[in-house]
């Protein structure tokens, strides 16, 4: 009966020995890192602890359920934890009616099991994460790939049937866990083949190879020259804005020419695109401006002695202002690093200031399949048409979705707009996501809905098994009059 890690719970005479991360026989008291804690009923401890919610310190008994009943139209029952219809074609677990402005509205609440689903991950960074199309791994298993980058962001596409059910059992399990963690707002470490390792979490800055990305670049190197040329004019003779995409050079750039900046004899490495704009000054990487260089001088060739002069002042800066260095040419026209003059410090901090915070954005994307739609109506294609016609609103845990045009009901949702821990999984492996369809009762009857199974909102009791959450003020109220679908 001895176990060093276990603690003895003295909340009742059962006196359970509880191991770390486990609950006592009551399912209410648990061992969290060696401490006895009381958790709210029906929230499994390891989920609650890992997501930092619902854990109430021992003896704090005023967190008892307040006894509120679900009443009134200001309550919307989400599909989270509602259960699912798969693989049977029986009516969805909850079909709930509520009156909105004199019109009986029906919300069909179900949890869909999605094997055709995944995550579109936008990572705000110019650092090189890995070549396009390369495999993205979690715990060594392939879970997705690098897809086309967007302005200031690297894009990853994760999940999908090929990883969930098309590969080895372990690949599927890891892919499912990765999607689940990302969708529930947890951090995940990903590694790109021939690329970087990146820690991502919805709504948080990415951490690339151990370096936390704070800002998005203000623009490409050329755009940065354009934006700041006036502020530099007269304070420095030339400026190089280092950027893996397009490196800009003030004295050659159109913006410099218009101000009358003189030639400086600067010679860049890389391929010149148009005057003052250079591609490929270095290899992609995680250092200066998304390149692999730590020494900015390595992208310069010797200055042209016909144009350059001793004492020439040169600023080199990255597109985020994160890296900067100031040089003056000596008698033999070699750049010598000097302290950044205060007049230039200001412009560097201005670049920083104009960069938006770098974030990871997680969009869950899935398609509502046959059995899920059959849980709503006996004639599933009519549901699709009704959604198309904007008669039926689709929400995901009460959050608005972007519906893809074309066939089927394929949607994307920003997981940070959903209640916490909205996603689950089945061992298939596949993700379980909440889906609600809201429409007028009359329309519901017309599309062949299970009108016999409609329950009134007030009949949904608030016992301890139902979690009440506050609606987000930046989400449209799911029962408000339908508008055309909007992007998340």
């Amino acid at each position: 009966m001895t176990d060093d890690e276990a603690i003895r719970c003295d909340a009742c005479p059962v006196l359970c020995y509880i191991k770390p991360g486990r609950l006592g026989s009551c399912d209410r008291y648990g061992n969290q890192d060696g401490k006895l804690v009381r958790i709210e009923p029906h929230v499994v401890l390891d989920r609650a602890v890992s997501r930092g919610e619902s854990v109430v310190p021992f003896l704090e008994r005023d967190r008892e359920w307040d006894g509120n009943l679900v009443t009134g139209q200001e309550t919307f029952v989400t599909a989270i934890g509602a259960g699912t219809t798969y693989p049977d074609y029986k009516p969805a677990p909850f079909i709930i009616s509520s009156e909105v402005k004199g019109v009986d509205m029906v919300t069909v609440v179900t949890e869909g099991i999605f094997s055709y689903c995944g995550v579109k991950l936008k990572i705000d960074t110019d650092r090189f994460l890995g070549p396009e199309q390369n495999t993205v791994r979690a715990q060594g298993e392939p879970v997705g790939h690098v897809t086309t980058s967007e302005y200031g962001s690297q894009m990853l596409s994760l999940g999908g049937v090929r990883h969930l059910t098309g590969g080895s059992r372990h690949e599927g399990t890891v892919a499912c866990q990765t999607l689940l963690d990302l969708c529930n707002g947890n951090s995940v470490e990903l590694a790109v083949d021939e690329g970087a390792s990146v820690m991502v979490q919805a709504g948080k800055p990415p951490v690339v190879d151990g370096v936390c990305e704070e800002r998005m670049r203000v623009g490409c190197g050329s755009a940065t020259i354009g934006m700041f040329a006036k502020q530099w004019f007269g304070k420095v003779d030339d400026v190089v804005v280092v950027d893996d995409h397009i490196t800009g050079v003030l004295s050659e750039h159109q913006a410099g020419k218009l101000l009358g900046v003189s030639e400086t004899g600067i010679k860049m490495k890389g391929r010149r695109s148009t005057p003052g704009r250079y591609f490929k000054v270095a290899e992609p990487g995680t250092a200066w401006g998304g390149t692999n260089i730590d020494d900015p001088l390595s992208i310069l060739q010797p200055f042209d002695p016909k144009e350059a002069w001793p004492g020439l002042r040169l600023l080199m800066v990255s597109t985020t202002g994160e890296h900067s260095a100031y040089f003056e040419l000596n008698e033999s026209l070699q750049p010598v690093e000097k302290e950044l003059p205060s007049a230039l410090k200001e412009s560097v901090s201005r670049i920083k200031e104009n960069c938006e915070p770098a974030l990871c954005t997680v969009l869950f994307m899935g398609g509502a399949g046959g059995s899920l739609r059959a849980g709503v109506t006996e004639n599933p294609v009519r549901l699709t048409r009704s959604v198309r016609d904007a008669l039926t609103r689709v929400t995901c845990g009460g959050a608005p979705v972007y519906l893809w045009p074309g066939g089927g009901i394929t949607f994307m949702v920003d997981v940070t707009r959903m209640p916490a821990n909205a996603f689950g999984y089945v061992p298939t492996p596949a993700l379980v996501a909440p889906v609600e369809f809201t429409l007028k009762l009359q329309d519901y009857a017309e599309l062949g809905g299970y009108v016999d199974h409609v329950r009134s909102l007030s009949s949904i009791s608030t016992d301890e098994s139902r979690r009440r959450v506050s609606a987000r003020t930046d989400n449209p109220w799911p029962l408000a009059p339908a508008k055309p679908p909007e992007a998340p």
Binding site: K19, D27, G81, R455
Partner: protein, 297 residues
Amino acid sequence: MPRAQIRLLPEGRRLHLNDGPIDLIIEAFGAADQIELAYRAASARFVTTLDELCAELPLLRCEPNLESWPTGVIARRMAEAVTPYSAQCFITPMASVAGAVAEEILQAMTNAATLDKAYVNDGGDIALHLEPGQHFVVGMVERPDRPSLFGAATLTAAQPVRGIATSGWRGRSFSLGIADAVTVLADTAAMADAAATIIANAVDLPGHPAVLRVPARDLAPDNDLGERPVTQAVGALTDREISSALAAGVKWAHSLLSNSLICAAALHLQGQTRVVGDTLPLAQPATVGVEEGLIHA
């Protein structure tokens, strides 16, 4: 401060009693004064229940032994309920604790008051009281972690069933088997509780790689199952594997049925259901809005 919590649920009909791991939802039907009498009797009986059980806890965590029989009235009921199985497999009185407690509280209510019908629901293990002509509709869920009805049964006073219990690896107690849920109808709640445990343990695929088993002691050091491996996860199984696992449980259920230890059982595993004891309309498609809120798992 008294440990036990005693309160009416907000709708004013059902009584909620909680003490440590015991969590009861009680509803009595009949004249208002009789319901009040019954609820007072239930509460009075309840406040000492956990202490009575804990006084004999070490004994109740061992296989029943006539040489050292427990003394408490609930503890004796527990030991009696599991004794029919003890020659064939490992089982301790703890396998029927929930059903035995429900029975005891129900008995306190019916001794004190005249009721049309009543139930005591102890976390899904339910004791029933039915006067002639009365009935209950009971809904069943397959996954306690995300409740949705998979079936409903009507229980009338003319039938012998006065106890319902469900066991499965997803439930609160550990299971040696892989059933998502086995629901049993029996003469008493303690009998149903013990039988559901036995049948759920029997629904199994020994050695199957998709089943994750962990010694009970590694999860809960003082659990009565000790080193026995309990099911913690079950991967996707083929239809044939599901049939084979269910068949093992059905065999046990038939044996229990022929020995009058149960009235009926519904076995559920990954979408497939088997029903033993065809006299009851078990596992019919559920009707939404199940009467009396007897949904359980």
